[in-house]
Amino acid sequence: MSVLALKADKRRPHGPSRVQQFLPLFPPSLILLLFFAIPMGMMVGLSFQQSDASGLTLASYERFFSDQFTLMGMARTVVMSGLVAICVTIMAYPVAYFLARSKSRWRALVFALAIAPELAGVVLRTYGWLIILENQGFINNALIWLGVIAEPLPLAKNMFGVVVGLTHVILPFGILSLLTSLQGVDPNLEKSAQILGASRASVIRHIVVPLTVPGIVSSMLLAFTMSASAYATPAILGGAGFKVLATMIYEQVLFYIDWSFAAVMANVLLVMMLIVALIGTRLEARLHQKLHT
């Protein structure tokens, strides 16, 4: 008799029932469903609709891809994000290398300096760059006072200012992403190469950099996606004429109140992100395979 009882019981000896087990998931899932999943579905649906027509239509997409203005905005987004990705990765590399290899007491300080700005928020940092770069700003005033230039250089309210600001915002993430990768490289490899007579430069070129290619790729992809969806920095440092997808979406929703077109732009941005992420995972998998076989 007890053998039978045991048989019925064998899957989960003393656990709660299935329903009970899933119960705590209910509140978080409900919120995600209500304020994320359903709105996202609705937005995608909206992009295939027109206020004056019934049924599904690609009209808004046709408008997006035939309009010079939106296409320029999209191209500007790609160029801006690409530049930021390159700047972030180049600037993050020495810091990450130092953090990965140094055992000095400065390490903690450098780590704090590298990561702390993240606490300050985008507004503070963007505002900081604005007062550094603008026409009556820090740099221009200093250069004019030194007599290097007569007229202020156009450093803000353009692509240059936005790239500087975004690089600053995203740099900590680049450092962390490269740091993980560099910590995975055995320092003994570098030592043995040096013992074999390789110069510092060739150790870095032939050992460290090739082994951290996956980290470089993921840092660039991260920086690209973060820039492409950034709103505040392009809005403040780019000025009124600097339009990227994020700022155009904002205008469509709040000034033109064209929801369908805003939804199209948001979907284009989303698809762009997904493509980059997909390329990223593919590339990382391939690089990983190459390095570990």
Binding site: Q21, F22, P24, L25, P27, P28, S29, I31, L32, L34, F35, F36, I38, P39, M40, M42, M43, M91, P94, V95, V110, L113, P117, L119, A120, G121, V122, V123, L124, R125, Y127, G128, W129, L130, I131, I132, Q136, F138, N141, H168, L171, S199, R200, A201, T225, S229, Y231, A232, A235, I236, A246, I249, V253, W259, A262, A263, A266, L269, M273, A277
Partner: protein, 267 residues
């Protein structure tokens, strides 16, 4: 040759660190400068701009942002705990898929999430959700995945043998959750909540769609103000809110003890 490479490395390191700190230093100097022209001469500095912060123009948005961040942080902590419990501790059937669902908002840019929520609330006729309720909901969507991930990591790291030890000592499920699981994962929960607080307090891309007159968060108030003036009061606002965030981190750390990690492994 090696010296040149070494020198280049140190120079680039110093330059990058200068780049990182420069805007923060400049904003601090600006907040103390008597005029809009930033001065690095400390004897000219004044704290007058900080005095100007005690007006409704800045205090009201600050109060809204602080309350919003607190609510969002607590909600993310509680909801994250519930979700992580089922996914990472109970490891329910399909926990990997459920985890992907819980983390899915991370794959969507904030600006897109913002549009989606504002379109949803408007199409559903929930106009009175725009403002504070919408801000709370949107920020939770943003912060919950981070909280879930941090708390789930803490739960994954929780040594199941401790649970068995508790069971063999007669502890019921509730006892084990209360006396073993929760105290041990507390640092993870509090780091998730701190993270949620900071993200919410500094947020722009979601808030920008959901604020309305009289219900505007501090960062949005600041960027609206930047549009037409760059006077040093802005610098003072920024420095003050940074100090506030640091204070909050300090308090959360005191309660949650996430940096010390004194309660490491059992070995």
């Amino acid at each position: 040759m090696n010296q040149v490479v070494s020198a280049l490395f140190w120079v680039s390191l110093v330059l990058v660190l200068t780049f990182i700190t420069l805007p923060l230093v400049v904003v601090m100097a600006a907040s103390l400068s008597p005029t809009a022209v930033v001065t690095l001469r400390p004897w000219e500095w004044t704290v007058q701009w900080y005095g100007d912060l005690w007006t409704a123009r800045w205090l009201d948005p600050f109060m809204l942002s602080a309350q919003l961040a607190l609510i969002v942080s607590i909600a993310s902590g509680v909801l994250g705990l519930l979700a992580a419990y089922v996914v990472a501790y109970e490891k329910c059937p399909g926990h990997a898929a459920i985890m992907s669902f819980l983390l899915s908002p991370l794959a969507v840019p904030q600006i897109v999430k913002g549009v989606a929520i504002v379109l949803f609330l408007s199409s559903a006729g929930l106009y009175n959700w725009l403002g504070t309720p919408g801000l709370i909901a949107a920020h939770i969507i943003l912060t919950l995945p981070f909280a879930v991930r941090m708390i789930a990591t803490a739960m994954f790291n929780f040594d199941k043998n401790l649970d068995r030890a508790g069971q063999s000592l007669g502890a019921s499920k509730m006892d084990r959750i209360r006396y073993l699981l929760l105290p041990i994962i507390k640092p993870g929960v509090f780091s998730g909540m701190t993270f949620a607080f900071i993200i919410s307090f500094n947020n722009i891309p979601l808030s920008v769609f959901l604020v309305r007159p009289g219900e505007t968060t501090l960062p949005i108030t600041v960027i609206n103000y930047i549009e037409y003036s760059l006077d040093p009061v802005l610098a003072a606002v920024n420095v003050a809110s940074l100090l506030f965030v640091l204070g909050v981190i300090f308090i959360f750390e005191k309660i949650g003890g996430f940096s010390a990690q004194i309660h490491g492994g059992s070995k």
